[in-house]
């Protein structure tokens, strides 16, 4: 292995990248756009759900409850109904997502405390609405119970790490992984396939350049680009969404480096399978979606079926999402997170050895 040749390849790759305006723009554009999109759009604490109230009790207590629910801002109580049938009709037409139903014997139920005093009817076809309903169910009704059972069966939720319950706090660190997965895998796969597709490879094999020097030289610039993207996301995340880095910044970068290595080797592996840039793109997408969906970035890991959990343990993104959330939000140190770091190393080693074995075959 000749380091000067490897660097020559890396330099050439950077020169080409600089001329490729679109790709160059993507390096900065993809993280910025994704961050803003995900940061603003993925918002799991739902507010202002269109809702209706059916207050059959119409007592002082029931009116207090309605007022308190309204002030919580979770529901936007835009309709006051008189007939129970109206609830179903409005829900079906999608005019409301939830309805608060207060039965005529509201006060009696409240006194006895044996049956639920009131109901929230929700459009269960939307998961985020369901989540909001659960939030409402734990609504503190202390004022209504005259303090009698106040301390008793009330569950107090103590929110660590994200007291304001801002979704972006949770989203942004994971987004580092998602953006790196997308750009690192795609760039590498495309860059290596392009060389073959354009016929450059045939000229290169006739020179003393070895396949390993070529591959490593080509991906080296993308390591730098990956770290650049991490920096960009951290900066924007901090400035726009106020996402903190509570752990050590060095640990964040080291974890990112391990994940970049895993993603790059996945890209190299794809490049040995794909025959042209279009196939490389398709394969990248094919590997990208399950990673994003199952990594715990979008949907809670605990909610997945057992088999999906096993599958997702194979993906580098799953481990990186846990790593980066731990370091950035819970100020964990990298050394205590080694069970998440090891799978990344194993993945890198495995992909690299498969890719090198396959490359040798192709060149002979």
């Amino acid at each position: 292995m000749n380091f000067a040749r490897l660097l020559a390849v890396a330099r050439k790759e950077l020169l080409q990248l600089r001329r490729d305006r679109l790709s160059f723009g993507m390096i900065v554009g993809v993280p910025t756009v994704e961050l803003l999109l995900f940061g603003f759009a993925i918002n799991l604490d739902v507010r202002h759900l269109p809702a209706a109230v059916l207050d059959q009790a119409n007592t002082q207590e029931s009116r207090e409850l309605v007022a308190e629910l309204a002030s919580s801002q979770v529901l936007d109580l835009r309709k006051h109904l008189v007939a129970p049938q109206e609830v179903a009709a409005l829900l079906r037409r999608g005019e409301i997502s939830a309805a608060v139903v207060i039965p005529p014997d509201f006060e009696e139920r409240l006194q006895r405390g044996d049956r639920p005093a009131w109901q929230v009817v929700v459009d269960g076809s939307d998961q985020s609405v369901q989540a909001a309903a659960r939030q409402l169910a734990s609504f503190p009704l202390a004022t209504l119970r005259n303090g009698a059972s106040a301390a008793g069966n009330e569950v107090e939720i103590v929110n660590f790490y994200n007291p304001e319950r801002k979704a972006s706090i949770n989203t942004v660190p994971g987004l580092v992984g998602v953006i790196l997965t997308m750009t690192m895998v795609l760039f590498t796969a495309m860059a290596v396939v392009r060389e073959r597709e354009r016929g450059n490879l045939e000229m290169l094999i006739a020179t003393p350049l070895s396949p390993l020097e070529l591959t490593l030289g080509k991906v080296l610039p993308y390591v730098g680009i990956g770290l650049l993207q991490v920096t960009l996301i951290l900066l924007l995340g901090g400035l726009v969404f106020g996402v903190p880095v509570r752990g050590s910044l060095l640990d964040v970068y080291l974890a990112a480096l391990a994940f970049i290595a895993a993603s790059l080797t996945l890209g190299i592996f794809i490049s040995t399978v794909a025959r042209n840039q279009f196939q490389a793109m398709q394969l990248t997408m094919f590997s990208f979606l399950p990673q994003v969906l199952l990594s715990g970035f979008m949907f809670p890991f605990q909610g997945m079926p057992r088999q999906a959990q096993w599958l997702s343990e194979l993906f580098p993104l799953t481990h990186f999402v846990r790593l980066i959330r731990a370091i950035m939000l819970r100020s964990a140190s990298l050394s205590e997170m080694w069970p998440e770091l090891l799978p990344l190393f194993a993945f890198t080693a495995l992909m690299l050895s498969i890719a090198v074995a396959r490359t040798k075959k192709q060149l002979v």
Partner: protein, 313 residues
Amino acid sequence: MAAEAPPAIVARGLSKRFGALTAVDALDLTVQRAEVYGFLGPNGSGKSTTIRMLCGLLAPSAGKIEVLGCTLPKDAEALKRRIGYMTQKFSLYDDLSVRENLDFLAALHSIKPAAARARIDELYRQYRLGELADRLAGTLSGGQRQRLALAGAVLHRPELLLLDEPTSAVDPQSRREFWDALFDLAEAGATLLVSTHLMDEAERCHRLAILDHGRLVANGTPQALMQALPGSTLSIECPQPRRAQALLERLPQVLGVAQIGTRLRVLAAHGEERALDTALRDAGMEARITPVAANLEDVFVAATHRLRQENGG
């Protein structure tokens, strides 16, 4: 000096099969040092595959290759420092400038920066690339690109240069210049192996191998090949050349017929002029038959014709 030196290329029984297809079939080849050796053959005759095996890019299915004293494919890596390969398709980077392409190649061959600078300046002069140094390779004309590709292939002063149909995308003027450049390299001591499907290019080579369907059907100097032609070349003038051609092609003595303007150029077995004349007259065609000098195309037609007959055609 060339006489005592061992040959640049020796291949014996060289074969390459891709599945059921035999691209190169038991090829024997000897190329002496400092000569321009031509590979003549139609597309698909195995020229490119043979060149790739001789560069060490492709492992042969059978046979022995020795190039510049290196046994292939075992010593392929050591050989790569000493050979230059110019691919059929332009294979430098379109999105790099002339200078950046050459700098990159110099680095791949581990040429020290100062030496690389001097060598690239020399190549700029030699191949008139100086004024194009900062142009992107993708914006060059066919002839300019080809000069750049040649400069790239000889940057490290290879002892052996293999060129795969180097002139397929350039105009006649550029082709002439290009061949002058090749002879300059041969004179300086390099061995060149050039594949082509153009007769006039083949005729310029010191020695020549004619390939057809992966087999070597003839080899020698162009002059020797023309002298050893197993037939004579005739020019036939007649009023209905298309009809005459159809008739002649069916005769067993005729190896090949081609229409050149209003005349027919016929390659026939020796001493068969009279038989041809009779055949045309019997069909009611008045013809004037004159012998003409043979050229390489006739050699090619005769050689490939024989092969087809052997194959039961």
